[in-house]
């Protein structure tokens, strides 16, 4: 075999030698293709697997781990969820790249037998002043919109940041949540000799061949030069596939099921056989196809969308086929389960590949060298003496409110159907979304978070803060953090600096999750996120769900009533490192990530949760990008119908005004309540050792912030609303 043959498939010379060893002979082109995919970072995680073992698999709730998607048990319900990246496809074809990303993550959920009930998406783009970034942003939103809305799963949340490091390599991480009766859960495995292997869904074409392995294994050489075949999403077929699969699962005749995503039939056959400890005998002629004379390896590698593989009890084939036919979907028995532990692929009876299922899934594990980047030493140094204090804080606050990473995301989420399925009780526009579980009083809160500037300057703490903020957002909605899914987006792992960032983030992630007793139930790794010029900021996107016992208590971030007391849980430190303020006002990405004290963080969150559970709090909002001032502004102006001002006249900090207003100290939550409830909340805080102070009172048409007797901010609500609310639309539609 000529080296360029396997190299073009992303296999190294060493890997090729290993394959020869395993087989004891030369692989056929089909086999080679199968190895290249199964051993790619996308499927086999050879470079990251070792470190992922660090992540905690247990937590406060009983976990379900080991399938494509993981989850937790809640009574006799299973909540299944996962986040996955579709970065590279979205960079070359934003609309379809994002759309197929959404489709893929939804299939990961309903293959588990769970009905998809919510979507979130975590997006990262280059600055909007570059035309191409704008084009990608619009395309991605268009793609998520066109797929999610049509397939009938509400997109209830997510997060969007803009940073130059994503110019040339955007991030599109889609997350889906599903619900199943726990006795109806499905697993991706095939067993029981003689049982049928059934193909269902769209027909197979040449699209996406090698897409995942090759895309996931190489950074972009020259911008657009790399042109993989991008698929077209078909949300209509996916919707039919969801309903048909649910029906099929309910018959009780389905032994196992898996979606054909990355590497299509290859992944499916080998992984289902391996998981079931059995073999498979597949006849490719039975595979529904869209194009003439496709080669066997093309059929095995095709990533055509909206396809499922089912293992069905012998004798029940017709019963299952009938269901898929009713939904006008292709369905065909393409093989049988065997005893021999071998995955045998035939074309017209003639064997084109015959492998031990284990050899395929046993991807190699690599130890990657890592090295702390030298540049950090200098970057982490920040001397506030060299940062001039702004003359006009009002101007700075307006500028921050209009900064795309902070500004209202309504332009985006109002293009998503976030209400279909009539479960969304806390709509987008608050810290977290809450969907109810029909038939119970309970609800699920969900959010995604990750400030990659923190991770760039301090990967370990940056990753911890991502988790802390996600949990805080849930707490603000009244939910108790339950479990995490992650999407680890990094640069080229073969570069020691990049791999160091990866390693540190995973360590930070696992440490804080252990301490919070939050399990990481699923996730996804996306490496090689680099443009010709630079790598992306390390971006361990965190998707977190929480449980709220009484959805009627769910709490929004905006002020509700005039005359409410404004309480600050936690306190402000004089720290400006890594802040949005340094970037917007001084064009600096410098200093260290904010400090994080896990005890303090927990105390603050517990207090907020308790206050909301007891029905004492009218609103709760955490301080994140833009610090105290931006958080207060958002409380004033993010109400759907009416805006309410506030007078903050009881801050007495001895520090620089800009640090007090815009510093991004962690573990801070702003709560409002009736005057009469203040003492009750103070007691809760005292009991939990959470710093507590009443800092002001809601009311009026302005945001006014004093420190001592010095007035730092005085802004009419309309002006802030204008900057914050219209910013994205102005930048995009011009």
């Amino acid at each position: 075999m000529k080296p360029d043959a396997y190299r073009s498939l992303g296999l190294s010379d060493k890997e090729y030698r290993d394959i020869l060893k395993i087989l004891g002979r030369k692989p056929t082109e089909t086999e080679l293709a199968m190895f290249s995919v199964e051993w790619s970072e996308h499927c086999g995680y050879p470079r990251s697997r070792k470190w992922l073992k660090l992540l905690p698999k247990t937590g406060r709730y009983k976990t379900l781990i080991g399938e494509d998607a993981g989850g937790i048990l809640l009574g006799d319900l299973a909540i299944i969820f996962k986040m996955e990246s579709h970065n590279h496809p979205s960079q070359v074809e934003p609309k379809q790249g994002a759309a197929t990303g959404v489709g893929g993550i939804i299939r990961d959920i309903f293959t588990a037998g769970a009905r998809p009930v919510a979507l979130l998406d975590s997006l990262r783009f280059g600055p909007l002043d570059k035309a191409y970034n704008k084009y990608i942003f619009r395309g991605v939103v268009e793609g998520i919109q066109s797929y999610g809305n049509c397939v009938g799963v509400p997109t209830v949340g997510g997060d969007i940041y803009f940073d130059n490091s994503y110019t040339g390599n955007c991030l599109v991480n889609a997350m889906c949540i599903g619900i199943a009766r726990k006795d109806k859960l499905m697993r991706a495995r095939a067993y029981g000799p003689g049982n049928a292997i059934i193909y269902a869904g769209s027909s197979t074409g040449r699209d996406g061949i090698g897409g995942c392995s090759i895309l996931a294994s190489n950074e972009f050489k020259e911008g657009e030069e790399k042109r993989p075949t991008v698929q077209i999403g078909d949300p209509f077929t996916e919707k039919c596939l969801i309903e048909a699969t649910m029906e099929a699962v309910n018959t009780g005749y389905v032994v196992g099921i898996k979606d054909m995503g990355a590497a299509g039939l290859t992944c499916c056959t080998s992984e289902m056989a391996e998981a079931g400890g059995s073999g498979m005998d597949i006849e490719l002629q039975a595979v529904p196809r869209r194009e003439k004379d496709m080669r066997p390896w093309e059929l095995m590698m095709s990533e055509s969308q909206e396809r499922m593989l089912l293992c069905v009890r012998k004798g029940k084939e017709e019963r299952i086929k009938k269901i898929f036919r009713k939904w006008d979907l292709n369905v065909s028995v393409i093989g049988r389960v065997t005893k021999d532990g071998m995955v045998t692929i035939r074309d017209n009876g003639e064997i084109v590949s015959r492998l031990n299922a284990r050899s395929l899934t046993g991807a190699p594990v690599y130890d990657m060298p890592d090295k702390k980047p030298a540049y950090l030493k200098e970057l982490n140094r920040l001397d506030l003496k060299n940062i001039p204090e702004p003359k006009d804080n009002n101007r700075i606050l307006l500028k921050l409110l209009a900064a795309p990473s902070i500004a209202s995301k309504a332009w985006v989420y109002e293009q998503y159907d976030h209400m279909v399925q009539t479960n969304t009780v806390l709509l987008p526009g608050s810290d977290a979304a809450v969907i109810r579980l029909k038939g119970t009083k309970k609800g699920i809160a969900a959010t995604t978070d990750c400030n990659s500037r923190y991770c760039f300057l301090n990967p370990y703490r940056g990753a911890q803060i991502a988790v802390a903020e996600a949990a805080r957002n849930l707490a603000c909605s009244g939910a108790r953090p339950a479990a995490v899914t992650d999407c680890l987006n990094f640069g080229n792992p073969e570069k020691p600096e990049s791999f160091w960032q990866f390693k540190k983030c995973v360590e930070g992630l696992s440490d804080i999750c252990r301490s919070f007793r939050i399990a990481v139930v699923s996730g996804n790794v996306s490496l090689y996120n680099e443009s010709p010029r630079f790598a992306i900021n390390p971006t361990p996107a965190i998707g977190m769900i929480g449980i709220i016992n009484d959805v009627d208590k769910a709490c929004r971030q905006n002020f509700k009533k005039e005359g409410d007391a404004v309480i600050l849980l936690g306190f402000c430190l004089e720290e400006l490192g890594a802040s949005e303020y340094l970037l917007q006002a001084h064009n600096l990405t410098k200093g260290d990530a904010p400090r994080l004290d896990l005890k303090l963080e927990k105390a603050v969150q517990e207090t907020a949760m308790a206050a909301i559970e007891k029905g004492l709090a009218h609103s709760a909002h955490d301080c994140s990008e833009g610090g105290l001032a931006v958080a207060l502004a958002e409380c004033c102006i993010s109400g759907k119908d009416k805006m309410i001002g506030v007078n903050i006249d009881n801050l007495n900090y001895n520090m620089r005004p800009d640090a007090l207003l815009f510093g991004e100290s962690q573990s801070r939550i702003i709560i409002t309540c009736d005057k009469v409830s203040v003492e009750k909340i103070r007691k809760i805080a005292l009991g939990l050792k959470a710093p507590f102070s009443v800092i002001g009172k809601t009311g009026g048409r302005v945001l006014r912030i004093l420190n001592g007797i010095e007035e730092l901010v005085y802004l009419p609500l309309e002006d802030m609303r204008e900057e914050w609310g219209g910013s994205l639309k102005r930048r995009i539609e011009g």
Partner: protein, 82 residues
């Protein structure tokens, strides 16, 4: 006055779910003997100048830069007088 008529359509090999769905609909309406059905865009642009050569160049650029994505779509256009 010139008029450019541009056809933009998915490349061969790229799945066309819309086209497929339309085909099924036509069949269920009783139309027989249908092969491939593909759906694309048709864009007509009026140009208020007469220089055909310039028109060719400009329209070619429009397609490349904005109207079509070469990764999944191909385009053809013709320019005629009005």
């Amino acid at each position: 006055m010139l008029k450019a008529e541009i056809n933009i359509i998915l490349k061969n090999g790229v799945a066309d779910p819309q086209g497929l769905t339309i085909k099924h609909a036509l069949e269920s309406l009783g139309h027989k003997g249908l092969g491939d059905v593909r759906i694309g865009k048709w864009i007509a642009i009026r140009l208020d100048y007469k220089d055909k050569k310039r028109a060719k160049e400009e329209v070619g650029l429009m397609c490349k830069k904005l109207l079509a994505n070469p990764i999944i779509e191909e385009y053809h256009f013709k320019i005629s007088e009005e």
